[in-house]
């Protein structure tokens, strides 16, 4: 995978290699031989590309590298390809909250007809000495919460159901 950089907000893919004589910057538009040498000033470098010489300054920050070149400053951020290319995970969210294991309902914090937000705690269950808070999988309206505090339930029992989303 090539690296993805974000230069002043615009993404570009490139990869630095070496052909035995000089460094090569591989870009979507072709390979560019180049050379970078440290200059005397702190953070100073001399860049040689296609017969031309540029003086530049580089400052490295935690989230971006700043390059000062030709009177202009560029912020260069590195984009993680695995993250960038993961796409949207999830897809359709289930309307039901299904018991991850058998247990007992400790408390119920919503009732049928309630409008709830994604991540809002709907009920707390206890199983294996552990209290787990179960939250709404998406924004919506509660259709049913069939158990009350103190009730026990089995594996994969439906603990809460959201009303189907309207198209």
């Amino acid at each position: 995978m090539r690296r993805i950089y974000q230069i002043d907000g615009e993404e570009t893919e490139c990869w630095l290699s070496h052909d035995g004589r000089s460094m090569i910057l591989n870009t979507p538009d072709g390979a560019i031989p180049c050379q970078l040498d440290a200059a005397e000033a702190p953070g100073g470098y001399t860049l040689r590309v296609r017969g031309r010489t540029y003086d530049m300054r580089v400052a490295v920050g935690p989230d971006a590298t700043f390059v000062h070149l030709n009177g202009q400053t560029f912020a260069i951020g590195r984009v993680d390809p695995a993250e960038r290319l993961a796409g949207n995970d999830g897809g359709a969210v289930d309307d039901r909250i299904v018991a991850p294991m058998p247990g007992v309902v400790v408390s119920v914090n919503a009732k049928a007809g309630d409008q709830v937000k994604e991540g809002q705690p709907l009920l707390v269950i206890e199983s294996m000495k552990l209290e787990t808070s179960l939250t709404a999988p998406r924004d919506g309206v509660i259709a049913e919460i069939p158990f009350a505090a103190g009730d026990s339930f089995g594996l994969k029992a439906t603990l809460a159901q959201l009303a189907p989303e309207e198209e």
Binding site: P62, D80, M101, S127, M128, K129, L130, E131, S133, L155
Partner: protein, 535 residues
């Protein structure tokens, strides 16, 4: 490696309540730790001054490289024993840096009962020498002990892991080519005489140090011979007549500079090389852990939020993120060292156990040390799970964990109950170091479950005898049991009994692990091999 995206809101009421509860706990913890290290009755301080001896902490300062970390083990050992009168079990142990080298240190604390060996003292010394053996760390003994505490002699002397084990481990260290130095800054009497004599090098401080099998009173009683300490076993006699001592030191300062000089003569063996990356502090503040760890032990929390505040750059490569989700597995770096992390995010099911076993095999294959973060209430129980073979899958996890050849490190971050403790590399499973957080709990089962079980047995027994019990009578049976169990599962009980290597302020966990991993690389890593997996 990608950064974990924290979902924590540091302004949320839950976060603030947790933070307040943890801060309160830590205030108590740091106060207890400080008292154990530095607070002594005036008469004990006066006695040391009269004997012209330095305290154990001052001795460590003379020995260790200035400005380097000292990873102290089990500071609060014996805190719930002997009415709290033997702080730290009268001994200081840990890993420190001398002349740029990692060494294990065993130093008697003569300000506590003259440095006498109590049962917990012996346990603490044996543990330190086990650490030295496992990690191939040279040992420096600072000897200043009144000898075994006689009223409890059966707790310090006869059994396999008692007094004799200290000397046995010294022999094993020597046999394994691991050097030892003893600095004799007090009396080494009877068994204690073998600590310096089994060391490759020993230094005796003139005037205060002495070595003998029987001290002057015992000699008088046994044979009638009247002899003074110096003639019987002082620095001059041993270094010039008997050859029992190697170096004579004029002062404590002289003794420790000699010890440092000896360390610098040792051959340096190269450390084991594992994958490393450039050191990076966590992106998220480790102190935020205080607000993440729930104030109620039973409340579930996302262990990724914990990892984000411990590992380098908060970066984590998660393995099988969508399978067996109650078990988080993945790679990260700590102090630049690549590690494989196993962290509980709920009960262990069949799939989570298999995932853990598989991941541990991966780590052994590429020589990646394992770090366990325990918050485990157990393997899932019930008919459904037995039918799916939960015991069989748990056995696979144990086989992979126990059979691992890479160094393992364990943090008991919250709950450590039942067989989950085993699967997640509890004390019996040879973690190179094992630390506990102050609110963590450990036991076969939870206090409530244990109290109910025991109370039910009692109630049923009484019912069989025809006695009907009122609510009050049932409470009278249950409540005292519950109270005792609640105390028994606390981190302070664990650390008192040396079931761990110490309680940690959660924010210090990263450094404790970094030092532990670094020390472990003094030992080679074997080729992977396992027992039989029940497939």
């Amino acid at each position: 490696m990608r950064r974990i995206e924290s979902q924590i809101d540091t302004n949320a009421p839950d976060f603030k309540a947790n933070h307040a509860a943890m801060s309160e706990r830590l205030k108590e913890f740091h106060a207890r730790q400080h008292a154990t290290r530095f607070e002594r009755p005036q008469r004990d301080i006066d006695r040391l001054a009269r004997q012209n001896k330095l305290g154990v902490r001052e001795r460590l300062k003379l020995l260790l490289d200035p400005g380097t970390p000292f990873l102290e083990f089990s500071t609060l050992a014996a805190c719930r024993e002997y009415d709290g009168a033997v702080p730290g079990a009268a001994v200081v142990t840990g890993i420190g840096i001398v002349q740029g080298r990692e060494v294990a240190i065993h130093a008697n604390d003569a300000s506590v009962k003259g440095g006498a060996w109590y049962p917990h003292t012996v346990k603490k010394i044996v543990r330190l020498l086990d650490v030295a053996l496992e990690n191939r760390l040279p040992v420096i003994h600072i000897c200043d002990s009144a000898g075994g505490f006689l009223p409890l002699q059966h707790g310090v002397f006869p059994d396999r892991y008692l007094g004799g084990r200290v000397f046995r481990n010294q022999v094993k260290l020597s046999q394994a080519n691991i050097p030892q130095i003893a600095v004799v800054g007090g009396h080494c009497t009877a068994g204690g005489a073998y600590v310096p004599t089994l060391s490759d090098y020993n230094i005796i401080i003139e005037g205060t140090g002495a070595i003998f099998l029987g001290g002057p009173p015992l000699v008088k009683a046994a044979t009638g011979e009247e002899v003074g300490v110096q003639e019987l076993g002082g620095a001059v006699m041993h270094t010039s007549v008997s050859g029992t001592g190697d170096y004579r030191a004029a002062t404590e300062q002289h003794a420790f500079s000699l010890a440092r000089e000896i360390v610098s003569q040792w051959k340096r063996t190269p450390k084991t090389i594992i994958e490393t990356a450039t050191f990076e502090e966590p992106y998220y503040d480790p102190k935020e852990l205080y607000g993440i760890i729930p104030k109620d032990r039973k409340t579930q929390f996302d262990m990724r939020e914990v990892l984000a505040r411990i590992v380098d750059g908060s970066r984590f490569h998660e393995y099988q993120p969508d399978y067996g989700t109650t078990m988080i597995c993945g790679f990260a770096h700590i102090w630049g060292y690549k590690v494989g992390i196993l962290a509980n995010n709920g009960v262990l099911f069949n799939d989570s156990s298999l995932k853990a076993a598989h991941f541990m095999q991966l780590c052994n294959q590429n020589r990646t040390p394992l770090v366990f973060f325990q918050n485990i209430t157990g393997y899932m129980v019930g008919r459904e799970y037995e039918e799916r073979g939960i015991a069989k899958d748990g056995a696979k996890m144990l086989m992979a964990q126990g059979g691992s050849v890479v160094p393992k490190f364990t943090v008991i971050a919250n709950a450590s109950y039942g067989a989950g403790n085993y699967g997640m590399c509890g004390r019996a499973w040879d973690a190179r170091t094992l630390f506990m957080w102050p609110q963590a709990e450990i036991g076969v089962m939870g206090a409530d479950q244990a109290a109910n079980t025991m109370a039910d047995v009692k109630i049923r027994q009484l019912q069989r005898e025809g006695k009907e019990l009122t609510e009050e009578e049932i409470a009278a049976i249950r409540d005292p049991v519950l109270e005792k169990f609640r105390q028994d599962v606390e981190a302070y009980t664990s650390t008192s009994e040396l079931w761990d290597d110490g309680i940690l302020d959660p924010a210090d966990t990263r450094n404790a692990l970094g030092m532990s991993i670094s020390a472990s690389l003094n030992a080679p890593i074997d080729d992977p091999h396992y027992g039989i997996f029940r497939l």
